[in-house]
């Protein structure tokens, strides 16, 4: 199998939002014939909606706005399991810490799984990184272009 499905693929929003939906179970996505399951985008937060169990936000990289959801419901999930509570759940704490860097106008790098929600693509966030150097966004653009030329433009390896 093509190994791209294992990594967070650097994508521009326009590329991410135009992925082809493959009707598999669970749904998967393809970019020029290659399966892409996880993505990494870099852009500016232009919308933010904090709820009790999740944080939804939009990342604008100039080619599109990517909807992202960061789940903050770990305490509810843990309450239903015997594994522990939020106090001992590093994942829940990390999610809360990540939610605190999501502010309007900040430059973020977001990684996560690509999922469908109500017919639209979004990223189920795994990592949020606050980027303080504005030049990293340019590097991301160039890496996306490089990936397109050096990876996606080549035919798939034989199965």
């Amino acid at each position: 199998m093509d190994s791209l499905h294992l990594v967070h693929v650097k994508l521009l929003a326009a590329d991410l939002l135009s992925l082809t939906l493959r009707h598999t179970s669970p749904p998967s996505f393809a970019h020029r014939g290659r399966i892409v399951a996880r993505a990494e985008v870099v852009g500016v937060v232009v919308s933010r909606d904090r709820r009790e169990k999740f944080l939804r936000f939009l990342i604008d990289d100039g080619t599109g706005c990517v909807p992202c959801v960061l789940w903050l419901n770990h305490q509810y999930l843990n309450a239903n399991s015997s594994s522990g509570t939020l106090d001992t759940d590093p994942t829940g704490e990390m999610a809360l810490q990540m939610s605190e860097v999501v502010h309007l106008g900040t430059l973020l790098r977001v990684r996560g799984r690509i999922v469908m929600y109500r017919g639209a693509m979004q990223i189920a966030v795994r990592d949020v990184i606050l980027e303080k150097d504005p030049n990293v966004e340019l590097l991301h653009w160039l890496q996306c272009v490089h990936m397109a030329k050096e990876c996606f433009d080549f035919p798939l390896p034989p199965a």
Binding site: V46, L104, W141, V145, A148
Partner: protein
């Protein structure tokens, strides 16, 4: 939260923002970058500059941003064109981008646009 159909702020250089250009349209969503030339506290109007080109930016909706003359700022918002082609960007978000290499920004933008044009053509084909 705003709809996920919110338009992206298309990055442009201030020099490209001329009345004859394709991006000079009422309501166009743009991302602009420039050095802060002046800021009026009462009107919340900032003027940013890039070389000989400048643009007024209405910052009344922005919070948690402090303005320093000669620092570099980036804004995303909608273009409002008033009579006599007097343009002002109504900013939705803004940030300080001191340290941004403006030459690298412009060169990267050119490469990115070429990539976007190639993608667009391949989708049409």
């Amino acid at each position: 939260m705003a709809s996920s159909t919110l338009k992206p702020g298309v990055p442009i250089t201030l020099r490209e923002l001329e009345p004859s250009s394709d991006v000079f349209k009422q309501g166009a969503s743009l991302r602009v970058t420039g050095n802060l030339q002046s800021y009026d506290v009462e009107s919340a109007i900032a003027v940013i500059q890039d070389g000989s080109a400048s643009l007024k930016v209405d910052t009344q909706h922005l919070r948690d941003i402090s303005f320093r003359t000669n620092s570099t700022y980036q804004f995303i918002g909608e273009l409002l064109i008033r009579p006599d082609n007097d343009a002002i960007l109504q900013a939705r978000v803004g940030r300080n981008v001191d340290g941004l290499d403006l030459n690298l920004y412009q060169q990267s933008l050119i490469i990115r646009r070429q990539h976007e044009a190639t993608l667009l053509n391949s989708r049409r084909a």
